[in-house]
């Protein structure tokens, strides 16, 4: 059984940071990790949530990701419910970096961690 608990209500997504590079990642329907929130698996299904939690534990043990945890997702918008998680999804609202966080992700495409790739 997964050690990852969620206390939230409604749809859930699973997030973490990539171990090697540190980016924010979300678990996808293919049970790999993507830096793009649009790829995130969002579900209320208890069996799926259990499997997500197990994947989080497994991939943390496999040194792919760090600190996985469930986040609540707004049912209507499909966006993270918590204010903080909206920021984590979008990157800094002020970003002087070259290229910016958003441009960087766009230019490289979503980074996928895990699976066969």
């Amino acid at each position: 059984m997964s050690t990852l608990k969620h206390k939230g209500k409604g749809p859930q997504a699973l997030t973490a940071n990539g171990l090697r590079k540190g980016p924010v990642v979300y678990l996808t329907p293919d049970y790999v990790w993507s830096t793009d929130y649009a790829d995130a698996l969002i579900t209320e299904d208890a069996a799926a949530i259990e499997k997500m939690g197990e994947t989080g534990d497994r991939d943390e043990d496999a040194n792919l990701i760090v600190g996985p945890y469930f986040i609540d997702v707004e049912a209507d918008s499909g966006l993270p419910a918590r204010y903080r998680e909206k920021f984590r999804m979008n990157g800094p609202s002020f970003d002087p970096g070259q290229p910016t966080h958003i441009d960087h992700n766009k230019a490289r495409g979503a980074l996928i961690i895990g699976g066969e790739k």
């Binding site: 940071n17 171990l19 090697r20 590079k21 540190g22 980016p23 924010v24 943390e60 043990d61 496999a62 040194n63 760090v66 600190g67 918590r82 204010y83 903080r84 920021f87 984590r88 990157g91 800094p92 609202s93 002020f94 970003d95 002087p96 970096g97 070259q98 290229p99 910016t100 966080h101 960087h104």
Partner: protein, 551 residues
């Protein structure tokens, strides 16, 4: 400035090699994240909201041009082209990858730098007055003392697992530019009636969720007694500091709960039980370290430079920068040039790699190759000839570093906030930018005069909001950013914790609220009063009235 000796080089290199091995083991999975996390934190590596963040120590805020260039190289090679100067005179890189950090630490070690003492429950990097050595109000240059404290505290085996982090600041001038009363231990260099130089030790200050100003522990500790005396303080804290509750673990809580007299008597007991000579540094070593900070080779100059005077008379823009950013130097013909890292379109404390190299070049041309970082997130060239100020200003303009707002309302201390920090509850950078935007008219800024606005994005208070003339604390209320306002804080020798005005403001109301308070001050000010002086004279009520309407 201080140069590493063989021992310094050896321990930094050994530590870097050790961390490389720890990263390799983490990536290979032979150590878990739970095991790795305290190790990476001991090397300044955090995992923040979006990415890893590496915090590099700048001992007492002093940097050589060579070190600054290397920081610029690191910003460009391993990060996204910039770094961020913090309120602890350190620099942070916001986007390093874990796999690159061992190389970054090697590159830092090449220029006698590291990221030790920037995290963890140890004695952190010692901070000080950024104008050290250059002002007439100085009793003694604090840097030799800071360097002695650095050598004593770095990897001190007994103080590596304290109840909580521990911050020491040293000030050598009569004016406190190091915010010593906001530190766990504040050290004020003093001269006693016999003319002997020693240390006034204050203890139990700190910001965070429980702001307390430090109290006087011992009005005069001699030079020989300093390290043994501090060692006694640390031992008392290490033994009795609360380990049961992270939020009550700082020394300020111990001193508050036990009382300063009880704490002092425990320190005295401990001091009596140790052998001071085992810990104290001898005069030879003090002299050796002090020699590194001998004054640079100042030229014998007239205090009046006619070209400089002419530039001031003919160039209003230069004069404005000079009036706001340049401070008096103790040596005739020299000045202290403060470089603002508070542009209207940037984040307070941010600087690009290219700008770091420009500042390094300017330091080489005009200030004996040395740079200071300030806890107000600016930079200083502390020894510039007045005759060179115009040329320096031209170079600053070219580098987009010529903002003329030091000490003014747009010179804001600001933590990274929700934009970067994993602990934050609201953003702080956009608030700083909006304040600057509202008050961008230079004449208006000047009319307002000295104003310290300090913004923190959570109760941990990295943005020093408790000691801002106006302090702003960002919180989250039901998914909306909400900002609490404090008034009357002061980080200097007249230190005070600000008082909360009342109900918080949403971001779009906050700037108007600040403007109403500033207008009230301008209306009520008498003579040369600063905002803080007027607040102290008229009290909170009139400010409450403009914020919330008549009671």
């Amino acid at each position: 400035m201080y140069r590493y000796d063989e021992f310094d080089h050896q321990f930094v290199r050994a530590r870097t090699a050790q961390f490389r091995n720890q990263v390799e083991r983490r990536l290979a999975g032979t150590i878990t994240e739970d095991q790795f996390k305290p190790l990476r934190l001991m090397n300044g590596l955090y995992l923040q909201l979006h990415a890893y963040m590496l915090r590099v120590a700048i001992p007492y805020g002093t940097l050589s041009s060579k070190q600054m260039r290397q920081l610029g190289m690191i910003a460009d090679k391993y990060d996204r082209g910039y770094g961020h100067f913090t309120t602890r005179q350190n620099i942070q890189f916001n986007w390093p990858e874990l796999t690159a950090v061992p190389d970054i630490l090697d590159d830092l070690a090449d220029v006698e730098m590291h990221a030790i003492q920037t995290s963890g429950n140890c004695i952190r990097n010692v901070t000080s007055d950024p104008w050290s050595g250059s002002t007439a109000d100085e009793i003694e240059d604090p840097r030799p003392t800071c360097e002695i404290l650095r050598q004593w505290s770095s990897l001190h085996p007994e103080f590596t697992f304290l109840p909580r982090k521990f911050k020491i600041a040293v000030n050598g001038a009569t004016e406190d530019r190091a915010a010593i009363r906001a530190h766990d231990i504040g050290i004020q260099i003093v001269r006693n009636d016999e003319g002997e130089v020693g240390y006034h030790v204050l203890v139990g200050g700190g910001l965070g969720r429980t702001p307390i100003m430090a109290q006087s522990l011992n009005p005069f500790v001699t030079r020989e007694q300093l390290l043994p005396y501090l060692e006694a303080c640390m031992r008392v804290y290490n033994r009795y500091g609360r380990r049961d509750n992270k939020y009550k673990a700082r020394i300020k809580i111990l001193v508050q709960e036990e009382g300063i007299d009880k704490f002092r008597s425990e320190v005295e007991k401990e001091y009596a039980a140790l052998t001071p000579a085992d810990i104290a540094v001898d005069q030879e070593e003090i002299d050796r370290i002090t020699a590194y900070f001998s004054p640079p080779e100042y030229e014998d100059l007239s205090d009046v430079d006619t070209d400089y005077q002419r530039a001031l008379e003919t160039n209003a823009e230069f004069k404005s920068w000079n009036d706001n950013n340049v401070a008096a130097h103790k040596i005739a013909g020299y000045a202290i040039a403060n470089i603002s890292l508070k542009p209207i379109d940037g984040a307070p404390g941010d600087i690009t790699g290219e700008q770091m190299r420009s500042v390094a070049d300017m330091a080489d041309s005009f200030s004996f190759g040395e740079i200071r970082a300030t806890h107000e997130q600016n930079l200083v060239l502390a020894n510039v000839k007045k005759a060179d100020l115009f040329a320096l200003w031209m170079r600053l303009k070219e580098a987009k570093l010529a903002d003329d707002n030091i000490g003014l309302i747009s010179d804001i201390i600001c933590c990274p906030g929700m934009d970067y920090c994993a602990l934050a509850t609201a953003r702080s950078i956009p608030i700083a930018q909006q304040i600057y935007e509202r008050f961008k008219d230079p004449a208006r800024q000047k009319a307002i005069g000295e104003m310290k606005i300090k913004i923190s994005g959570c109760i941990n208070a990295c943005g020093h909001h408790h000691v801002g003339h106006i302090g702003i604390l960002g919180l989250e209320k039901a998914g909306v950013e909400n900002y609490q306002v404090k008034l009357g804080g002061d980080a200097t020798e007249t230190a005070a914790v600000g008082a909360v005005t009342g109900k918080g403001f949403e971001a779009d109301e906050l700037i108007d609220a600040i403007e109403r308070m500033v207008d009230l001050y301008l209306d009520k000010k008498e003579g040369e009063e600063r905002f803080l002086d007027t607040y102290r004279r008229i009290g909170m009520d009139p400010f409450k009235e403009v914020l919330y309407g008549a009671a």
